[in-house]
Amino acid sequence: MFETFELLTLQQYWWFIIALLGALFTFMMFVQGGQTLLNVLAKNELEKNIIIASLGRKWELGFTSLVMFGGALFAAFPLFYAVSFGGAYFVWMAILFCFIIQAVSYEYRKKPDNFLGQKTYESFLFINGSVGIILIGIALGTLYTGGNFIKNDMNLSSWTNHTYGLEAVLNPFNVAFGFTIFFLARAESSLYFINNIAQEAIVNRARKQLKIDALLFLGFFLMVAAMLLLMSGVGYSDKGFEVISYKFLNNLIDSPLLLMGLIVGVILVLYAFFITLFTGSTKGVWFSGVGTILTVTVLLSLIGFNNTAIYPSLSDLGSSLTIENSSGSHYTLTVMSYVSLMVPFVLGYIYLVWHSMDKEKITSDEIEADHHHY
């Protein structure tokens, strides 16, 4: 089936999968958001344990989504992988450090004789949820705003300054993108706790906190949306690369499906906030989850279609990357496309397991009785 597809079709298919994986990862960031709310929503040790237990059963899925996102980029767009990771070195390393410290913190936090102490592991979780997520947002922002790299005739690349990607924090769009994701993750974590925890005090605090985070998220989101629609992007044709005004706005207008996805996605997230804050519903997380996945899929897809550069070069426009010049070969994309048929199966069993584990909400009795709580 896939072998008969045009190379460009496979490249678009794979960019869509990357966008979807990025979106799933963004949704899973509610775990990180929750980590930053640990001391806000919990007022005693038991409540802390409940929150950690609630997040602790999900954190590995988010972690795995990040690994998968990286692996899929490597396989499908190896030049992007090489240029971005090998060039924006400090940004990616900083992100990785934030995830290393997450991986041990749940398990080691409360264990006796844990060397660094409970507070350190909790601050690791906070750093992962704040610095880690904001930096990921900033790194994703550079897909729209570009990076300081050049590549030669052999497609070998190098960065043109010695801050190796850290300069991206000076770009307002990147920073706003980072904070948008950060506050979205916090808002969604409140929605998740309301759905997952049966302890009233935590749920009440989560509802209050949701108001603050949802408002901040909306503020930053509107800022990002406005900047995105007004900004120029890099497009390409047979003649080469050129800067095009309102590139992303044009992309949306040219792809009604993406526009519709974006509108529906945003409405679903807003609906989730609304029903949680004004009707007392506990189902908000499902709507915001679907909404987030739709919105982020559209936002990332926007840069992979309509002859747009997925990673513009700020140092040499001609070095910019597109889905066409950075992808794997037709053969590899075909092989990987067959592999991608497993995605629904994997999502299916994750859903079933999640469903069977979360049938009953977490209670304080359960956490007090459970020997292996985090």
């Binding site: 290393i100 991986a103 041990v104 264990k111 590899t332 990987m336 592999v339």
Partner: protein, 508 residues
């Protein structure tokens, strides 16, 4: 183009990460199956003692698993951050198994890990057991895919060079998937993980017996551990033999370094123990060893399954051996340089639209293509990996592997005749064999990866050409940050683990 200092720091950082990662992964691979076996006994017999035993080992498993994940995520991304040329030049082939690993293995592990730890009262007994098995299978599937990728680095197959994109591209997925080197590495590596898991269970159970603590549970554990260990150490020895055979076929220089063999000959023996002559250099007449004890014919048999076979030495590889049709490294480097220059000229001709020159250059390139990687080497002797490190690592690893087999056999024998309690020396030896297991695993990696030098991809891409073009200072900075962080986390892991063991098996 090559910056030696940058290459060395990039290698150091990757080696640091890999060595740390490899402290935790073998235990995950082995202990996951041992736990699954223990839980199966619980489900079959309904005896709650087995449930408590399972839960105890699961606690230790989780402590180890967490830090394995922490070091594992770096491994994947370091291909991009520190080996970006590599990621582009071979990413079309190498990226696929990594992505498949994520999709097939990591999600399985992480999804069912949650059930394994928090699902005891939430899902049925059988569903829980299935989840424990799926965590074990997921971990091992992950090993399969990463070792298919690593096997491809040792023995590249199923690809061709595309001069237009200046990279290797996959031409046959099935060749990559069923690469014999990948499978021999996979089987030997998981075998070492199973032995490590067994050493861990046997050693800690032995400590309980020495302290007369949790005796019944410790005895049950030690029997499961030693049985699993005995079977898997035989498997480890068999797969080790197959791995050496693969090395002989596809990486003869590595085999020569593993054995300190400078001049090839027929009916070659294995130096069972010996000391390399530190004065000895490639091409000189000095003795290879200051002293040695050799097993005749063994190397020919190990490498080629034929006691008469000719085993190539390092001098044969460097200076060539006409009789055996081995081309000298110097000649290969010269042809490699022709290939590099032809590719450059092809790219320039394409750019300027000179079709005739492009066709001619491409023809020259294709004629010398297989030497392409050699063109980046500076000296003919560069094709030889560090001999002493490879030789001693290999021999120590083999010695330790043989000891583990004996240990499991003795433990199981005395457990069967119910005399284990009185064998204090053996129990102490079992306890002290835990660090030896870790050492053997690390040595195995050193043989595999140091023995592969100077190549990132055997015969095709030297490490010096594979690095990212970042500053050496940047890599040095992250190297030390990693070293400090990983060491701190390792200390935490060991202390937590030791404390949990001291607390004992009760109450799980």
């Amino acid at each position: 183009m090559e910056d030696t200092l940058l290459t060395d720091w990039s290698r150091a950082q990757f080696a640091l990460t890999a060595l740390y990662h490899w402290l935790f992964v073998p235990l995950t691979l082995g202990l996951s199956f041992i736990i699954a076996i223990m839980e199966t006994i619980y489900v079959k017999t309904g005896n709650v003692v087995w449930k408590e035993i399972t839960k105890f080992w699961m606690t230790l498993f989780a402590i180890n698993f967490a830090i394995g994940l922490a070091t594992g995520i770096i491994m994947e991304f370091e291909f991009g951050t520190n080996w970006s040329n590599y990621s582009w030049i071979v990413g079309d082939i190498f990226g696929a198994p990594l992505a498949i690993e994520g999709l097939m293995a990591f999600f399985m592990e992480s999804t069912f890990f949650a059930v394994m730890f928090f699902g005891w009262d939430k899902v049925s007994k059988r569903m829980h057991l299935l989840s424990t098995w799926l965590v074990a299978i997921g971990s091992n599937l992950s090993a399969l895919w990463i070792l298919i990728a690593n096997g491809w680095m040792q023995h590249p197959v199923g690809m061709e060079f595309n001069p237009d994109t200046a990279r290797f591209e996959m031409s046959n997925f099935w060749d990559v998937l069923f690469n014999s080197t990948g499978y021999s590495k996979f089987l030997h590596t998981i075998g070492s993980g199973y032995v490590m898991g067994s050493l861990f269970v046997v050693g800690i159970s032995a400590w309980y017996l020495l302290k007369n603590k949790d005796v019944i549970k410790a005895k049950k554990s030690i029997v499961v551990g030693a049985t699993f260990g005995l079977i898997t150490s035989i498997f480890l020895i068999m797969t080790g033999d197959e791995s050496a055979h693969e090395v002989a076929l596809h990486q003869p220089t590595k085999l020569a370094a593993m054995e300190g063999l400078y001049d090839g000959h027929k009916r070659a023996g294995i130096v069972a123990v010996g000391q390399l002559n530190s004065e000895k250099k490639i091409g000189d007449d000095k003795e290879e060893f200051t002293w040695s004890f050799e097993i005749p014919y063994a190397l020919s048999f190990l490498g080629y399954h034929n006691t008469d076979a000719f085993v190539l030495g390092m001098n044969d590889m460097v200076y060539g051996n006409k009789e055996k049709d081995i081309e000298s490294a110097k000649s290969q480097i010269e042809k490699g340089k022709i290939a590099i220059s032809a590719l450059k000229s092809y790219k320039e001709a394409k750019k300027s639209g000179d079709a005739v020159k492009a066709t001619d250059s491409l023809k020259v390139f294709r004629e010398h293509e297989k030497y392409f990687g050699y063109g980046y080497l500076k000296d003919e002797k560069d094709i030889v990996p560090p001999v002493a490190l490879t030789f001693y690592s290999f021999h120590l690893m083999v010695g330790l592997g043989s000891w583990f087999f004996m240990l499991f056999f003795l433990i199981l024998y005395f457990a069967m005749v119910n005399k284990l309690d009185s064998k204090k020396m053996l129990l102490r030896a079992a306890l002290w064999s835990i660090p030896l297991g870790y050492l053997a695993g690390e040595l195995g990696w050193i043989v595999a990866e140091v023995g592969r030098q100077p190549w990132a991809i055997e015969g095709m891409l030297p490490v010096g050409m594979a690095t990212s073009q970042v500053s050496t200072t940047a890599v040095q900075t992250t190297f030390w940050l990693f070293a400090i962080l990983f060491t701190a986390l390792l200390i935490a892991e060991i202390r937590i683990m030791t404390k949990q063991i001291k607390i004992g098996m009760e109450g799980h």
